[in-house]
Symmetry: C2
Subunit: 696 residues, 2 copies
């Protein structure tokens, strides 16, 4: 169906159903805009009330069109959309962009109309963008097929493809971009998104060689797989994908869900998966445009070191603060770099990081040129931020200076220019130099270049994407401990050794094979919380102790859980105490098989300090999960614990991911606690839930 | 010395030492600017090389001036500043603003020159602003006594007093403010700040009735008391004080320190004290100006509920996200509010929070007017954010709409307008309506109004400020447990009861008076970590157990710590286990007596999750400290613990603060652990360090 989207994005002919000659009306604007902008394709207004519009023949109905146009804009009332789509389908039009509102956003009746519309479209082999959208723009080919206010001024194309679920916010974002001199080659609003999704649109737009960056504004996410495919494709093409997604918190998620009717899924899970697949997430519209500005003309950074060069010590300190707050590094330059800087910087400057070059560079531009080059030559510096302000009398001089710097350096840099002369800002942006006009935001943009470089590195050997069945089973059952142990061990998930014994006597014998000291646990499909019923004994040192404990346990459990079916005694090796972690897996209704890791105790219970990735995950993905934990300092060893072998934990996470894919019947897995130490990692308790199949 | 600062901010006459006729030169700019802007006072250029400058008589030297001007600008070389200040002092000039650079920022020699300059000034009774500053502006009286690029265009005065340690950044900030239509009545750059501090300047500026908001950009803070006095004064006057302070992190602090040579102090301590005294902290220059924009014309909010009204569901969700992320509330409107909204909002809008009023309000402005009024009428809503974008054809209409809303509502609101028509933005700003052009930042501005309201509430019964001696004693000594116990108990700090016994036999008897079960601890000035030497026994149930444990302890400690002086046995009541907290006090070299609270365990050890306030603190201050803990959910009761009595904890913190003021000899106090539960709070271990005085 890609062809329909290609048709939509770059149509050789466009019909406008319900066209009006009034350029101020929703149904008059696209015709007016496309004529104004010089759209070179064939335009077919359709409206029985007009013979012609602005000198162009207007057709009374779809049937009478001289050809099946590549795309149709539908600007009729909601009630008439079904018949319109039927006629378009019969005519052979591959895609309809439906402006009409009065659908899902209106409640159940509108929702029913959406279903009817979609069924009609499917029946006639036509795809739908919308309804309730404000159209799309292909700035290169002047397809201004929209009624967005953004098009009140002719759009300037550029290397960015932007798709937005929100029309109004999308209009705001494109307009902000224009003010910054950033051109959007494509701007598509997918509206209620009953058929064509934002992800599909961007997949096709990315294939355009003129596009180097994709950006998306997402409200809901009903098809996580499509997003992951898009991300993997963008990564493979070397084109950054920036996503802003709302619904981070309760009220926002509630608002997004009520607004779009789509399920966004848990934000922490989305965040983990986005990061895993190299999506650069934007917090808001400004952050999105800052990242766009950084990515369109600047290479990704190859490391975490930010070099700060400033004419204000105060601004330098603020940038250093922000860089460290976000986890980037602000390394001191080497002695060699310092002595090179000392040769060019005035004595009242500062040679550390930030480097304060003072205002003297206006008199001697070489100060600025050389110091940026020297700083970026330093092996510890991977990206620079250069801060300046105003300088309205030196606009051209400074543009020349930055052009010169650009030609001299190979590492990326971002210009932070407070209240810049408009001319200089646009000239630099035109050159592909990123200009940000706020101090912390410039650091965040440089950080984006670091994140992008790391994502590229990490995604080099990404395991192939595995699409998954999102249907949830009707019911699940716990899997017996020994059975679960065998499955997990076969899958390479590290667990303490264990064995099942039927009687206290057998338990005493079996303990020998497990190895002392052992833990003894009652095994029953009916008992979830063994400890609460007296079903756990720890640290048993010999056969006598095991037998005695088992006998006592049986007696106690027959009192506390008289109806439970007892399958015997589980004997487990006692693992040496280490840092407590939790590893989990679940099949998320939005995201599919998801692996989770957290640190045990209050960190997970009180701070909900966990990280997610989707199966399959690479070792690099798993290490990233650990880096995302707020309490990650625990892994370096605190309170006398030795440092945790992070690679061993990462491998366990990878194994859990592979296990999830290999065992589709397993719905949920909870390894808690997992003991992680210098010598590796081992789960000492596990709960596995599998699909409960009807007995055959 | 306030008079000198008044003279500086509003001089009836100004001398410019080293004046030049060249309006492009540092030493020519202030004269040029003040003439251009219509400064009505007397201007005296001083330079032996000129007879007159631009028709104004130029004097050959300071002696020949016809009067002692209220203020002198010094624009001579660093080497000549001392003689210049001497001459100014002799002439009777109260204050000199010294532009000259080549001082502390140049290293030790420059530092020495600063000292000489300051001594000279003190000897001649003249105060100094700077050196190495770019001057000041009083926009009301056209005192454009600066060479800042900001003054390239005549400054527009307004209700804001802004002082900055950084000249370049200060220039950037004032210029950004101008672009937004925000006028600064005062802009003062204090530069190297060897004498007049930013805090003193703002104290005086606040007395001007035309000023309603103060803002400061701080790099270092050598005089925390001055900041607190300023904050208390601003609060008493009902004028918000916004402070941006760099040095939040290592690299930023390093940069700030090297740049200004002043000690900033630990950022977490600063943050706690700023919040305690009602300072609204800005993260960066944009945030500062957003807060300024909110505070100049809008009342503080009286509660935490943010109502969001939008024409874009997506933007609404983003705002709701941000509000909750920052800890504000986004309450659903009442049924009554909803039915009132339903009467005005189109059916395809949304009635929750966010309220989506759709784009229909352009055709029917009443939709916007009424819905803002209805939303703000809801008792759960304390401040509204109204989001819109572009609407370049409706500029005047929308200005009228917001004027109308303003006249109808009593609660505050913020307008978030993406890519607004410049004219509308300036018109609303002129009216004192806060317009922010970025979605999340608008929420942060509304949040600022909430923070300000809460700060005012909290500071109503602020304990009187107590200035403190910051000199640190040469050495400190641990205070014996029983002595410390007596002091703390007398001060109302809740500790478990305890008693000292000399021998094992006496211990057994004394335990009775303490109450079983007891804890037994060895008491020795030489043993800090009692547990490590076998000096702790817990949960002793009767006299026999106590005597046996004491005998064993004595034997063991004589082995593990043979040289320790043993003062006996400490008997302590065993407190029931509860949520573990830590309370501390120290005398900070920058901030004075500081009280700390944290949650025990990994939260404090790994996440450094602590909060600070300065003594004396109110109960409200102490409750705020608890609210600032990231792990505060622990206080609500987790893992089967009951909820903590927050007021009891707060009272203990207040008591520790009072104790610190009443006992200046106590340098440090560590209550760890403190058990906090539903029934109150009690410290079960304490370590007190006091000044070690020479034996008399």
């Amino acid at each position: 169906m890609t062809n329909a989207i290609q048709s939509m994005l770059n149509p050789a002919s466009v019909a406008i159903i319900g066209a009006s000659p009034d350029a101020n009306k929703l149904n008059g604007r696209p015709f007016h805009f496309m004529r104004r902008d010089g759209y070179a394709g064939r335009l077919y207004p359709v409206n029985p009330r007009y013979e012609e519009i602005d000198g162009v023949r207007c057709y009374p109905d779809i049937d009478s069109l001289p050809e099946a146009p590549d795309m149709a804009i539908v600007a009729v009332s909601a009630a008439r959309t079904v018949e319109t789509v039927t006629a378009l389908g019969k005519k052979g039009v591959p895609v309809a962009v439906i402006f009409s509102s009065g659908f899902g956003e209106m409640g159940p009746e509108g929702k029913a109309l959406e279903t009817e519309l979609l069924e009609t479209a499917r029946a006639h082999g036509i795809r739908i963008c919308g309804p309730n959208n404000l159209g799309l723009i292909n700035g290169f080919e002047h397809v201004t097929a929209t009624f967005s206010q953004y098009a009140d001024t002719p759009p300037q194309p550029g290397p960015v493809a932007f798709a937005s679920q929100s029309g109004a916010f999308g209009t705001g974002i494109t307009s902000m971009a224009r003010s910054r001199g950033i051109g959007f080659g494509y701007f598509v609003n997918t509206g209620n998104q009953i058929d064509i999704s934002l992800m599909e649109v961007l997949e096709v737009a990315l294939e355009d060689d003129r596009i180097t960056v994709a950006a998306a504004y997402l409200e809901g996410l009903s098809d996580a797989d499509a997003l992951i495919r898009l991300a993997d494709k963008a990564m493979a093409m070397g084109k950054p994908l920036i996503v802003a997604k709302v619904g981070r918190k309760g009220a926002g998620a509630r608002a997004a869900a009520s607004h779009t009717g789509s399920l966004a899924g848990e934000d922490e899970v989305f965040d983990g998966i986005a990061r895993q697949h190299g999506i650069i997430r934007a917090r808001n519209e400004e952050h999105m445009l800052d990242l766009v500005a950084a990515f369109i003309g600047t290479d990704a950074a190859k490391g975490r070191g930010i070099g700060i060069l400033t004419q204000s010590g105060g601004a330098g300190a603020l940038m250093a603060d922000r860089a460290e707050e976000l986890g980037y590094e602000v390394p001191l330059p080497s002695d060699e770099t310092k002595s090179k800087l000392a040769e060019v910087i005035p004595a009242f400057g500062a040679l550390g990081n930030p480097v304060d070059i003072t205002g003297q560079f206006l008199a001697e531009p070489k100060i600025l040129k050389d110091s940026v080059a020297h700083l970026l030559d330093d092996p510890a510096i991977d990206v620079a931020v250069v801060w300046l302000q105003l300088m309205h009398g030196y606009s051209d001089l400074l543009v020349d200076v930055f052009r010169d710097i650009r030609s001299r350096v190979t590492k990326p840099f971002v210009v932070c220019w407070i209240e810049p002369p408009e001319r200089a800002r646009l000239a630099l942006t035109e050159m592909g130099i990123c200009v940000i006009s706020a101090t912390e935001r410039a650091v965040e943009a440089a950080g984006g270049l670091i994140d992008l470089g790391e994502a590229r590195e990490r995604c080099q050997n990404r395991p192939a994407f595995v699409a998954t069945d999102l249907t949830q089973p009707e019911s699940t059952r716990p899997v017996a401990a020994v059975e679960a142990h065998a499955l997990l061990t076969a899958g390479g998930v590290p667990l303490v050794s264990c064995a099942l014994a039927a009687t206290p006597e057998e338990a005493a014998k079996t303990a020998e094979t497990v190895g002392y000291p052992v833990a003894l646990k009652i095994e029953s499909p009916d008992i979830q919380h063994k400890f609460d019923v007296g079903g756990v004994a720890l640290g048993l040192a010999d056969a006598d102790a095991v037998q005695t404990a088992a006998e006592q346990m049986l007696a106690q459990v027959s009192g506390t859980a008289p109806d439970a079916q007892i399958d015997g005694f589980l004997l487990q090796q006692m693992a040496p105490t280490a840092t407590e972690m939790v590893i989990g897996m679940r099949r998320d209704p939005v995201f599919g098989p998801v692996v989770m890791v957290g640190l045990g105790g209050v960190l997970i219970e009180v701070l909900k300090d966990v990280a997610f990735a989707r199966a399959p995950l690479s070792e690099a993905d798993a290490l990233l999960m650990l880096d995302r934990l707020r309490g990650r300092a625990m892994l370096d060893g605190v309170r006398g614990q030795s440092a945790v072998d992070r690679v061993a934990v990462a491998r366990a996470l990878v194994a859990v991911g592979e296990f999830a894919l290999a065992n589709p019947q397993v719905q949920e897995l909870d390894l808690n606690p997992v003991f992680a130490g210098a010598d590796g990692v081992v789960a000492v308790d596990w709960l596995m839930m599998a699909e409960a199949k009807e007995q055959g």
